[in-house]
């Protein structure tokens, strides 16, 4: 009798522990499939640059998660990144000409794939490739672009400067009264 209740308690403990491992792996970590419906389909897209997009990242449409990134690879011919995404089976009417963007959640957040719906009545199917994509914004490139445009504009700005000074006196009296 005593040993039976002991075995029961130990059994409870071990199953609770194993349940915790499963909860952590499937509920908390990203090993589960997308929706509760269970069914899902895969689409691919090529990007020039995926930034810090990683496996398991969300695929969102209008801010709502509809899937997740399954795999990121390289196209051996074009050297573009090939992103494979798994989309919730319930979202089976996404237009074929929709476009994908790699976006960042907030200033410091994780990167995700945003879907912008197109107008084609033909929906995306399993194995479809999305053709319209926009790469991740890479901060270094952005700063680089900003700097080059700044240096290009500098001579123009220098030429503009006297003109602005000249305009000032004219503007000042007008503002004074």
């Amino acid at each position: 009798m005593q040993s039976r209740s002991l075995e029961l308690l130990v059994g409870f403990f071990v199953s609770l522990g194993i349940a915790a491992v499963f909860v952590l792996t499937f509920r908390v970590a990203s090993l589960d499939s997308v929706g509760d419906s269970g069914s899902s389909y895969k689409i691919t897209a090529k990007f020039e640059n995926t930034g810090s997009l990683s496996r398991g990242a969300s695929v969102k449409m209008s801010g709502v998660r509809i899937g997740r990134v399954r795999d990121i690879g390289i196209d051996p011919e074009t050297f573009q990144a090939v992103v494979t995404m798994e989309i919730d089976g319930a979202r089976n009417n996404i237009p074929n000409d929709s476009s994908l963007k790699i976006l960042t959640a907030g200033l410091l957040g994780e990167q995700y794939v945003g879907v912008e719906a197109g107008g084609d009545p033909e929906p995306l199917k399993d194995g479809s490739e999305v053709l319209f994509t926009q790469s991740a914004l890479v901060l270094e490139n952005l700063i680089g672009q900003f700097l080059t445009s700044f240096t290009q504009k500098e001579p123009a700005a220098a030429k503009d400067a006297p003109k602005a000074d000249a305009a000032d006196p004219a503007a000042a009296p007008a503002a004074a009264p």
């Binding site: 308690l9 403990f13 792996t25 990203s30 994780e110």
Partner: protein, 254 residues
């Protein structure tokens, strides 16, 4: 030569403990032939540690959520609260705090029990009955500690992240969106993190069980010796956990 004696003493202790571990490992296959003994020990190291683990896990999750929220809200990143709680718990606090509690709760009890068995001649009585105390007493306790630690660490983490811990404070009290709490965790964490946690917990379990049974088995057979074995089990295990945690984390970060 005498100034070297602390060094040689500790080297001898380490050598003795290592040989002891090897002796235990050699008896482990035989110990699995008698699962009843292991189940009994799982009760005393696992089931009896459950309450302290569940309560501490919940409170640590709650505190982490409160503290994390205060910082994150300044960056407008309160929706990342789940990630903060989950990653800190699974990567660090889950296994480490569980191990520290386990050393205090189960390790000390293990050392005291074995020490008392030695002091009251129970171990030597077994030997005289031609029963190997390492096989009959030490190995089942060692194995139970090894099994219980990863389970307890998982339960701890589940409590800390989940409904009673970080989730309760973050979502119910501070108003972080339930969906984004979980989806952000989902995005940031991978099966790898869980596997690392289980590895850490198992290594800690091995260290604590080893230290506890060694201290108990080699305790001086007096009440003072038993109390010293109990204390040093907790002290040595705690230091070993923190040192091992550093080493393991360094390995897992590559």
């Amino acid at each position: 030569m005498s100034f070297l004696s602390p060094l040689t003493d500790s080297l001898r202790g380490l050598g003795r403990a290592s040989l002891f571990l090897l002796t235990i490992i050699a008896t482990i296959p035989g110990a699995f032939l008698r699962p009843r003994l292991i189940v009994q020990q799982l009760y005393s190291v696992g089931v009896l540690s459950l309450i302290i683990i569940v309560i501490s896990g919940s409170f640590i999750g709650m505190v982490l959520a409160l503290q994390g929220y205060r910082t994150l809200v300044n960056f407008g990143a309160a929706s990342s609260l789940g990630v903060l709680v989950a990653l800190s718990i699974v990567r660090e606090l889950g296994p480490v705090v569980t191990a520290l509690l386990f050393a205090g709760r189960a390790g000390s009890a293990l050392a005291a029990e074995i020490g008392l068995m030695k002091a009251t001649d129970q171990l030597s009585g077994m030997e005289m009955m031609a029963v190997d105390p390492i096989k009959r007493v030490i190995a089942p306790r060692f194995i139970a500690g090894l099994i219980a630690m990863p389970l307890l660490a998982s339960i701890f983490s589940m409590m800390a992240i989940g409904v009673a811990g970080g989730h309760a404070i973050g979502v119910e009290l501070l108003g972080v969106d339930d969906g984004s709490y979980w989806s952000q965790i989902n995005q940031a964490m991978h099966g790898r993190d869980i596997a690392d946690m289980l590895i850490k917990a198992t290594v800690f379990g091995l260290a604590i069980s080893w230290i506890a049974v060694y201290q108990g088995y080699h305790a001086a057979p007096t009440s003072e010796g038993v109390s010293r074995a109990t204390t040093s089990t907790v002290v040595v295990s705690s230091l070993a956990i923190l040192a091992l945690d550093f080493v393991l984390t360094a390995f897992m970060f590559h």
